[in-house]
Symmetry: C2
Subunit: 176 residues, 2 copies
Amino acid sequence: MTTDKKHQILTAYTGLLNQHGLKGSSLDALAQLVGLSKAGLLHHFRSRAALDAALIQRLRELIRQDLELMSADLSSAVSYYFTSSMDYGSELEQLVVAVNRLGQSGNSEATETLRWARDSWYEVMLEALGDPTLAKLALLAGDGISYHLDITVDKDDGFVTEETLAAMVKAIQQAG
Amino acid sequence: MTTDKKHQILTAYTGLLNQHGLKGSSLDALAQLVGLSKAGLLHHFRSRAALDAALIQRLRELIRQDLELMSADLSSAVSYYFTSSMDYGSELEQLVVAVNRLGQSGNSEATETLRWARDSWYEVMLEALGDPTLAKLALLAGDGISYHLDITVDKDDGFVTEETLAAMVKAIQQAG
DNA sequence: GTCTATACGGGGATAGAC
DNA sequence: GTCTATCCCCGTATAGAC
């Protein structure tokens, strides 16, 4: 039990938002998930707003790390971005979805963070591909993959496989 | 005032879901938007579940129409799909987003409908492009455009312009 | 068809004991 | 740090008058 309690709560909250959306992510439900009462939970985060803010900050951290990784090897940047987008179980991908849910319900800090993320990823894509059209195409396709996770029950209905992914990367790189 | 009241309510509900998500789309808010009391609203739709079901049915209708249009001219199918995805003001695009919100909160009929839509659009894409990889790339990029509407405040922050769109269509068609 | 009034449960948050 | 108890608001739905 070396895990910090706050981190544990944020992880559980992320999972709730992914599976049930904002409406299904009540403090009651979250408290139960981490084995606390509602008041016990609110001891760690003063309010729901504080919880949301912390989640968004956590996402910003992970994105900064991700940008470094992606920039480190530009030749595999596209492949990396696609693969990451499909890695729905990763903390980063789950956080993106979770924060997206907050944005959809009117949290402007959430939408601003996601816009910043998009612009940052695009910069790397542009460096990697050298062409704005292809860079945007790659970015949008990756985001389309994330979007598709919304509509599949078991998160893997075979529409996009790893082979599909590899073939798409090849198609984009050859178009350059 | 030839517009049917039920249709008017569904349109307003769609707008609410787009702008404020499910949590912000209460019956109170909807009733106020269409100039009714809550009870008056519930006279037209027995419950929230009935409202959701009607919304999903409306989407299915519009998708069927859209598939016919798209299939009618395969040479412009990709361009048509991209342009439609960016036409955030259209009833179809708004409904897709609205029903997506329902799916995110656990409505399985919503996710099933969206999956059916994806598969149907993919069929046409495949016919139009003749290659599974390019067809999926095109479909995902179009969906990425929809996804991006989530994170832009004024729905048009210049990341994807009509010129970008046209250039992407060209890139995909040349790759074939 | 539309209203007011009301019942009922759930969600966020605080007080105070342990 | 965590609990129980409580408060108040909001959301869904129904009853019954007009």
